[in-house]
Symmetry: C2
Subunit: 133 residues, 2 copies
């Protein structure tokens, strides 16, 4: 299915599959896959994510850090922490994400917040899809 409603948030070349959304379970399990060069929305929210990289490699921005990620890595995204996943130019990146079924709506960074994130050279390179210095 489409990742999000077109135009609702910045993202690129990413698909979302809901693997489990059973009313008897209080979480959902989703699979996201980014084509080479694709990325998820940069966002934050009160609910947390439990991520397991399933395929390929790439980078993730988590708070004020950029980290390489590869298959079977685990990433905990805490509450109200900016996060984004990016596939490299030449490889897809796929990950599982467990999340509470009841959750708040994601927030997007405004220009001021984005400027402050970009002040970190690693984050600016990550956001521009350049090699991380």
């Amino acid at each position: 299915m489409p990742y999000k409603e077109e135009g609702s948030a910045p993202f690129k070349a990413i698909s979302r599959q809901i693997l489990f959304a059973d009313p008897a379970l209080k979480c959902e399990l989703r699979y996201f896959e980014m084509a080479p060069g694709g990325y998820s929305t940069l966002e934050r929210h009160e609910h947390v994510h439990a991520v397991m990289i399933l395929r390929g490699q790439g980078h993730c921005l988590l708070g004020t850090e950029v980290r390489p990620v590869a298959a079977h890595d685990l990433v905990s995204v805490p509450a109200m922490t900016w996060h984004q996943f990016r596939a490299p130019p030449d490889e897809p990146l796929g990950f599982l994400c467990m999340v509470n079924a009841e959750r708040d709506k994601p927030q997007l960074p405004n220009d001021d917040k984005l400027g402050r994130l970009r002040a970190t050279p690693q984050i600016a390179a990550f956001l521009d899809g350049r090699p991380i210095p």
Copy 2:
């Protein structure tokens, strides 16, 4: 970590890793791996399981059916449904399992129930670790 307390239930050559058990999440994500010939406990309970096969192949008993499973297959285990996973003699089987953090204790089959399950030739072969007819 050990799969279960030794002697508390029948199982063989299986390990359990808790990948995510965050108080902010209402589910846990666990990884189970059976060595070749290993199997999980045959059990049922009110809580449901959401399973994704991650590695290898094998069979699962679900209710009154035995099904082959392989990497990336999804298995929903409904409430009060007998279930067991088995690795083949020559290959490991690994799967992720999402489950509610709050859940009831598993029930084991008594001899009578086990006898009724064994009346199905496929299930008898599965339980004995023989090729499924």
